[in-house]
Amino acid sequence: MANFSTNEFKSGLKIMVDDEPCSILENEYVKPGKGQAFNRVKIRKLISGKVLEKTFRSGDSAEGADVMETELDYLYNDGEFWHFMDAKTFEQIAADEKAMGGNEKWLVENTPCTVMLWNGNPISVLPPKFVELEVVETDPGLKGDTAGTGGKPATLSTGAVVRVPLFVQIGEIVKVDTRSEEYVSRVQQK
């Protein structure tokens, strides 16, 4: 992998820090008028998810991380691994629980996910921003209630639990924001 000098640093660049692939979140150039310039860099470690600050001397460089994001369709879970397929090449890749990082609760078969690969191995899986899932369990709720009240927990077909308005009933399809893990709306059933 190529090396990147601090002048090439920008948010989104993937570099190796402490033998772990990292993504640059923020990069600030710091220079005392008469002193050495350096870069104060905020990074996210892509495996552990930890966010930390690191200081580089300006002009120094960091090794690039061979990290790429690819759109893959989720196929199935075999109990240990979650299997994904490239819809163009039909190549399959399996992600372990660590790479899933809890996002398995949003996976719907045959939906595209963003899989991050490091040296060809999956290290994280991002489901679509919005998913539509069936409510399989929730309190019946009272007629006449509106979305303005506190809502109630509902279990969805994938096992995920979100708060929904009181009027949402078992069997209905709801749209959920997977990033905030919040209910967005009911989905009209065809």
Binding site: Y29, P32, Q36, S58
Partner: protein, 321 residues
Amino acid sequence: MMWQPCADMATLKKRAEILNGIRRFFAERDVLEVETPVMSQATVTDVHLASFVTEFVGPGHAKGVKLYLQTSPEFAMKRLLCAGSGCIYQIGKAFRNEEAGRFHNPEFTMLEWYRVGFDHVALMHEVEALLKAILECGDAQYISYQQAFIDHAGVDPLECEPAALKSLLQACGMGDIAAMEDDRDILLQLIFSELIEPQIGQDSPCFVYHFPAAQAALAKISQADPRVAERFEVYFKGIELANGFHELNDAAEQQARFELDNQKRRASGRAENGIDSRFVAALHSGMPDCAGVALGIDRLVMLATGHDSIEKVMTFNVERA
């Protein structure tokens, strides 16, 4: 195509008012406004400054002569002092290669002034008066470099070993860079930027004076304590705003410092810069005892308008220039 300015019109009006205010301030004090060349045949030797260079080709210079864009107007203004100008100030552009960020643009506006007969203490008080006039801020705080380190980092910067500075940086999560760095002054600069600057001058401007002699730049070494130089910096709300000296006016000492800079440049793999012989010659002819300071106008406007990024107070930053 991004053709619009970076700054909004209200900020540009405020900027113009500030420039007027500065000119009024110096007119009232009978300080003469001057202009010196932005392009010069010589430049600084500072290890941590990179100059832009261009070339003049024309009458008298058929083969071309190298011209450096000035990193500050210091040498030319000091030549005016040597020529008997008396107190002078300048508002002009300065250029520094390799510098861009939230507080840096490679081309920026600098206010620099020299007061004959002042020492650094008298000049600090004048800087405070200017800041009060422009920013309407409260009384400034004054702290020595040594005391700032003792109060905010728990080490004595004039006495402690580099190993102590390294372990302090390590404890603050900067072990990687500390491990690579053996230069005592760079370690001190890191500690200053990361640990001390965020803690000083938050409510009113803070003057830090008596920098270590090794960071004297063009300041006199203190006769009372040769460990320190008569140099000060001003910090306000996390911004390094100004840098001033009780000016070195000993030509031989100045020549020696330039040569030491060039030794350091060589050691760190940078090209040596030719010494500005006209400036040294002027010092030989005699420069009056004086103090001088350079203040970043863009940063001053940032403080006056509350903008958090230098581009927001500039018409067009380097990306839009």
